[in-house]
Subunit: 242 residues, 2 copies
C-alpha cells in the first residue's frame, strides 16, 4: 500500500477509491432501506452493479462495510469539530452542531441506520470497538472546545467539561430519535428548542436562583453551584482536537 | 375473550398468561443476546422449551413479540409516570426517572434491545405505529406532570412543557446510549451528572444572566427569556396521565 497516490482521475488508485466509495454508497442505500441484518451481500452487489468478486475485493463482508461507514463518520465528526472550533462563540458552535445533526439525520433511513449501528455496537465486539474509538475522539474534541470556552469566560467554569460533552452528545442522539418519532411536527421546532435548552444550560452564571430554596426538596443542581468555579486551563497540546 | 378471569393459579387463563409471559421472557433473552433479526422463531421455541405450536398460539411471529414487548414498556411507563406524579417535587420526580432509566438499561443487552427496537420502529410501519403510540402517551403524561409543576411554581413557567418533555425524553435515551459506550466510567457519575443538568435546566428563574450580553453572539435562550411567563393551567381532565 506504499504506492504513490496519483491525482489523475484515471489512475488505478483513484478508480479503486471510486469503486470502493460506490460499494459503500450502495450498501448504505440497502441498509437504510431494509436494515443491516436483512441486507445480503448479494443485494449489495446487485445495487452496486458490480460482481461479487469486485465487492469482496474491497470488503470482506457486511461488518467490514459497517466499519468503513463508521470511519467515514469519524472524518465527518473531525470536520464538524474543526468548524465548531472556528465558530464565533460557544453558543454558535453548539447551535451549529444541533443544526448539522438535525439535518443530517432528518431522513428516517439515516436516523434508522445510525440507531441500528449503535445497537450493533452494543452487541458486536468488533463494531463496538470501532464505535468506542470514534466516540472517545468526539467527546475529547468536544471537551476541549468546551474547556476553551470556559477559559474565555463564555461558559460556566464550574461545569465538568468532559461530562458536559457526554451530556450534549447524548442529547443530540436523543434529538435525532425524537425527530423521527415526531416527524409530523414542525421540523425546525425541535432542533430550535434543543438549541434553546443548551444555551440555557450552559449560561455562564449557571443557576443560582434566589427562589431555589422555596422549591420543595433540594435540587441536585446545588452540587454544581456549590463547587468553587475553577479556571480551567485548556491543554493546548490537545487542541488539534483528536 | 369474554371469559371470566379466575384468580385460581391453576385456571386455564392463568396458565395461558404464564406461558405467554414465558415466551416473551425467552424471546427477550434471545433478542438481547443475538439481536432481533438474527434470532429465529426456532431459537425462541428452544429457549422456551415449548413446541412451535405452543409458541405460535400466542404470537404470530417475531414482530408480534416485539409489539407485546413494547406494550409491556407502555405499562411500565404508565407506572413510572404515576410514581413521578406522586413525588414530593418535580426535581424529585425527574431525578427518579433518571435513576430508573439508568438502572433499567444498565446491562448492555437491555440498552441494545431498546436501541434495536427504535431502529426497527424507524423502518417497520407496524412497529413504528406501536412505538409512536407509546411515545405520544409518555410525552403527554410527562407534559402534564411538568405543567402541574409550573402551576405550582416549581418549574419555570416560560418553558414550553410539551417541548421540554420531548427534550427530557431524548436526553434520557441519549444517557442510556452513552452509559453503554462509556461503561468503564463510574456507573453512578453519568446519571448523577444528567440529573444535575436537568435540575439546572428547569430552575424556576431560568437563565437571566446579567453577563449574557458579554458573550459573543446572541444566545438562542433569549427567545425563552423574552417570553412573558404565562401561568399554565393544567388540564385536570388529562391528569389520569394517559
Amino acid at each position: 500500500m506504499a504506492t504513490r497516490i496519483s491525482k489523475t482521475p484515471q489512475s488505478p488508485t483513484a478508480k479503486a477509491d471510486k469503486k470502493r466509495g460506490d460499494v459503500l454508497k450502495a450498501a448504505g442505500k440497502c441498509f437504510r432501506k431494509t436494515g443491516f441484518h436483512q441486507t445480503s451481500m448479494q443485494q449489495i452487489c446487485a445495487e452496486t452493479g458490480l460482481g461479487p468478486g469486485a465487492v469482496y475485493r474491497y470488503f470482506t463482508g457486511k461488518e467490514a462495510i459497517i466499519e468503513a461507514m463508521v470511519e467515514d463518520e469519524r472524518r465527518q465528526a473531525r470536520a464538524m469539530l474543526l468548524q465548531m472550533r472556528d465558530a464565533e462563540s460557544i453558543q454558535d458552535a453548539l447551535a451549529m452542531a444541533t443544526r448539522m445533526f438535525a439535518e443530517r439525520y432528518r431522513a428516517s433511513g439515516d436516523a434508522g441506520l445510525m440507531t441500528e449501528v449503535y445497537a450493533e455496537g452494543m452487541r458486536s465486539k468488533r463494531t463496538g470497538a470501532v464505535l468506542r474509538r470514534i466516540e472517545a475522539e468526539w467527546v475529547m474534541g468536544l471537551t476541549n472546545i468546551l474547556r476553551v470556552a470556559q477559559a474565555r469566560g463564555q461558559l460556566d467554569a464550574s461545569l465538568d467539561a468532559a461530562q458536559t460533552a457526554l451530556f450534549l452528545t447524548g442529547m443530540w442522539d436523543g434529538m435525532i430519535i425524537r425527530q423521527h418519532f415526531h416527524a409530523h411536527d414542525d421540523p425546525q421546532a425541535l432542533p430550535a428548542f434543543f438549541d434553546n435548552m443548551i444555551a440555557r444550560l450552559l449560561a455562564r452564571d449557571g443557576s443560582k436562583p434566589e427562589t431555589r430554596s422555596k422549591a420543595a426538596g433540594q435540587p441536585a443542581a446545588d452540587l454544581l453551584t456549590g463547587v468553587e468555579p475553577a479556571f480551567v486551563r485548556p491543554d493546548t497540546r490537545q487542541m488539534s482536537l483528536i
